[in-house]
Subunit: 576 residues, 2 copies
């Protein structure tokens, strides 16, 4: 058996290693057009920023180490230029020897990953415009900084753009970030991205949201970036981080089936339309766990697992890739943002029925130091309660809850199951009612009909004929309120029922949703029937409108202890 693997980073290296373990006698060749194989591509921004001090730490394997341990024939600087699937041969260009040769295969594996997008904007080939996909890209950017670059412009506000912008701030550079969408982290729904925006601004990253670069102009070696809103920015260099495209040219030339998203079509066994050619990693299209649609999601975890599955199937084991749910996390300075499953915008685009709740629990017990509220959005199926997607933005414990919800989605568990999760509690780590339990309580209450919600986006149109009732304290109300609201603090509600008309819809709100839930339960039992509470309270509302009181905004601390104290009751007895 002769296996030839094109591309030796995540999926390719995984395939090769697993193949050797399954078969000691197979000939395994890895062809990598670049100089490095199996490097830590997710670590690149952190070496730029200086957190990872040693560049060698990113170089996980060498051809020599793979030969010694796994008897794999790794050839770097070898670019495959053609696949002849009928004769089962490939054409390879050896960059060092500057010669072309032909290699045969029994099984071919495509794992070339994805290339950074470089759209045909005028001036895009300016020598100071970089991307960040591999070690040479990283070296080139670090060279700029070492040579004294004091300012960079990052185009793209997704994972890489944010990580790179943070890295540049760690290097004390001025940074401006341009993002086409009117939010950072486009995979998140917009109200979840607001905190990140203010947080990055508080770290002196200057943001230009909702606009695009339309031209790059040289300015004595620097780059002027002309935005479509007319602004002109200047920096020593530019990093483009606007996404990637499957490196599918070889596959297209070989007439392998390509999907709508430009990725290679594969079966669950990771087989392409040619049964002797497999593909894995960033270049393939897979099934989305939640929506069932095909998706093209460049993530390291799926790439590694797919590589393993390729090797299994080459050796006749029945091994199937299930699906990709898009679990992802990003460090944004002191904050963490993550998501798993479908977003609201995806569900809306696909016209899928969903419901949503928001909550703001602490990362761990509020009385133990070092925690802050996180903002959780939970999307679920109205009929079954099956969890469809979760987004979390906060400080401590965000990645942990993303992983719990990712497991919940993989297991097709419901919001009712969330109520029963028994997670680890000690004050430094969590709460007796974990955020995942709390999310389950709130969503289950909703599905059982114990509470009705209104949402930030319903304001003001849906509530013109009703009463907007703020049940926070007078003091909170004086500081800020939603326009048109009246104020009856929760503690006075029982004695103030006569101030409310039973025939009008009542739209209740408070700060996080707990006091309004108590108010809802009181009013419901006093025969007010047309009532609802603001999901996520004013905290989610202010994030939706990204207004002056949104958390994270400079001058508005994320944790205002005076305000937190007002919600202390919920943090303890909040068994909703």
């Amino acid at each position: 058996m002769k296996i030839v693997i094109i591309g030796g980073v995540a999926a390719g290296a995984s395939t090769a290693a697993r193949a050797r373990r399954l078969n000691e006698d197979a000939e395994i060749i890895v062809l990598e057009k670049d100089k490095f194989i199996s490097f830590a591509n997710c670590g690149l921004p952190y070496h730029i920023g200086g957190e990872i001090k040693n560049r060698d730490a990113l170089l996980l394997q060498t051809p020599k180490s793979l030969k010694a341990t796994l008897n794999i024939d790794v050839r770097t600087g070898h670019e495959v230029t053609n696949i002849d699937k009928h004769s089962k041969q490939i054409t390879v260009y050896d960059q060092q020897q500057e010669k072309t040769y032909v290699e045969s295969y029994d099984k071919l594996v495509l794992s070339q990953g994805a290339d950074a997008l470089r759209p045909p904007i005028p001036g895009i080939n300016h020598p100071k415009i970089f991307v960040l996909r591999n070690i040479p890209d990283m070296d080139a950017i670090i060279l700029q900084i070492d040579q004294g670059a004091g300012k960079a412009i990052v185009i793209g506000g997704g994972f890489i753009g944010i990580e790179v912008a943070e890295a540049f701030r760690h290097r004390n550079m001025d940074v401006e970030l341009v993002e086409l969408q009117n939010q950072l982290m486009p995979p998140l729904d917009i109200e979840m991205a607001c905190d990140l925006r203010y947080h990055m601004e508080s770290k002196n990253v200057q943001l230009h949201l909702g606009c695009a670069a339309k031209e790059f102009i040289d300015a004595s070696g620097k780059v002027n970036v002309i935005l479509d809103n007319g602004q002109s920015l200047q920096a020593d260099f530019v990093v483009l981080a606007i996404g990637v495209r499957p490196a599918s040219k070889l596959a297209i030339d070989a007439e392998l089936a390509i999907g709508d998203r430009g990725g290679i079509k594969v079966t669950g066994k990771m087989q392409t339309s040619d049964p002797d050619i497999y593909a894995a990693g960033d270049m393939v299209e897979v099934i989305d766990t939640v929506t069932g649609e095909t998706t093209q999601t460049p993530l390291a975890g799926p790439a590694n697992r797919q590589g393993r599955i390729v090797a299994d199937n080459i050796f006749g084991r029945s091994s199937h890739y299930q699906s990709t749910q898009g679990t992802a996390v990003v460090k944004v300075f002191d904050m963490t943002a993550g998501s798993t499953g479908a977003s609201e915008k995806t569900l809306r685009r696909l016209n899928r029925p969903y419901q949503k709740v928001y909550l703001h629990p602490s990362g761990h017990a509020g009385y133990y130091p070092g925690t802050a509220p996180m903002h959780i959005k939970l999307l679920f199926e109205p009929k079954t309660g099956i969890v469809l997607g979760v987004q979390i933005v906060g400080y401590d414990g965000v990645d942990k809850r993303i992983d719990v919800f990712a497991t919940v989605i993989r297991a097709k568990m419901t919001v009712f199951d969330l109520e029963h999760l028994e997670l680890a509690y000690a004050p430094p780590y969590g709460s007796a009612k974990d955020p995942a339990n709390m999310a389950g309580f709130i969503a289950s209450n909703f599905l059982r009909g114990d509470v009705k919600f209104w949402y930030a986006e319903d304001f003001p149109n849906k509530m013109t004929k009703g009463i907007l009732l703020d049940v926070r304290s007078h003091k909170e109300f004086e500081k800020w309120s939603i326009s048109g609201a009246i104020n009856i603090p929760l503690g006075k509600l029982r004695s103030s029922l006569n101030e409310l008309q039973q025939d009008k819809p009542i739209y209740i709100y408070c700060r996080v949703g707990f006091r309004s839930y108590l108010a809802y339960r009181i009013l419901l039992q006093k025969r007010f029937n047309n009532i609802s509470i603001l999901a996520g309270g004013s905290k989610t509302f202010n994030c939706f409108y990204c207004n002056d009181l949104a958390t994270g905004k400079p001058g508005v601390p994320f944790v205002s202890h005076a305000e937190e104290k007002l919600d202390k009751t919920p943090s303890v007895l909040n068994n909703i």
Copy 2:
């Protein structure tokens, strides 16, 4: 509806709050014999240690706050002395008024929790012997320290004992800890507790494992603790933390059904043998999620959720408590230890079939700073692969993986499902192949017959007729090896096959199990059929024997970078 709740901490306060939300008109009375209700009992050690600076932070609610928000009649200092279930009346002693009165109920809720054990050891009533269950207990201990106590003896090496010992070290006290078992954290299997032992010793807690206090003798106001091994220890005071017992006296007197473990028997609806009396929290017996046996597990999370279920059922909602899986976590200075589901000793005691694997993955990508290997033990059902239990000891990311596995156990997922989990990866948070995936790969390989294990406890008896083969480097071998082993480094194995006899059993080992797995795959395919590898490698072996090379031992750093480098291959291509 008149609901009387006896005990107002976790379960009781939760019942009361949920009851009010479900019914605005019910009369809800909470009777608490102590001075405080709804306090943060899990936070007590951390106020002693000074992490939680403000004592008031532990006092989550007052009778006044519960009256204002939830219209609940809370009476502290009111002790219930009798239940007459036939007339549905209780007798209450009001400590302040020094008078007794009778209160009727429609539904009665028992949520008195558990009392600290004080066994009848001679001298047990010495005034300097304390327990730590509530605020007055905590105040009394802090008073000792504030009055100049310089040394304490902690009896009991479980959760509370460890937390209290750490707290005392934070207050710069000398601490000795006595534990009956030959390990800390008796809920863990012994090999998982070894790291904790050395870690606590490195923090200058002097441990006395495998011995018991048999007498306490006054020594001019100090306490002499006489151990059953003849040693005599002296300290300014002693804290007893040897476990708790359900506070079931009232229930016994009222002739409610009591289980074998001394807890109150309840249905899934949390109903006692009297349908008008419910019970919840530390005092009840519940079903164990994994074993199906009844268990009595004092945990805050289940207590809170049970309280909610009691209220549901009182108001006619069909709400059931599922089971308790015993998910728990403890901070041990810089380390974290946690477990969920069944331990090996429990499975063995119940004669349940199980298999186990060990692994030592990093908390996050090894090339990003701030991580260390954790020690994971995964127990699973041999036929189905269903996960039965997990124990983890390490530094970063332990609580996160415990919660993932806790969710996996709740969902009855298998080790094969672990392979497919898609968890959040970025270098500061995890690895492309998360520890949970890795555990799944290893266990699935085993169940699919791709690898066979031998275990630390098999040495030396099972291997007298075989070859003990160390595939680590010569350098590692010279430093330490298992007695009787021969050394063929992995890289030389392919060319040294003639040194091994095919007819003999070969017991392979390396440092964490990865190089031996590669060796196994090589030998298997070269027609060596009687081979197996040491589960968890020498790291688990050394923990099992708690010997000089066990991680955490003073002088043996937990992360030896020189040694880690040898396993760098596995950390990257370890798709097993």
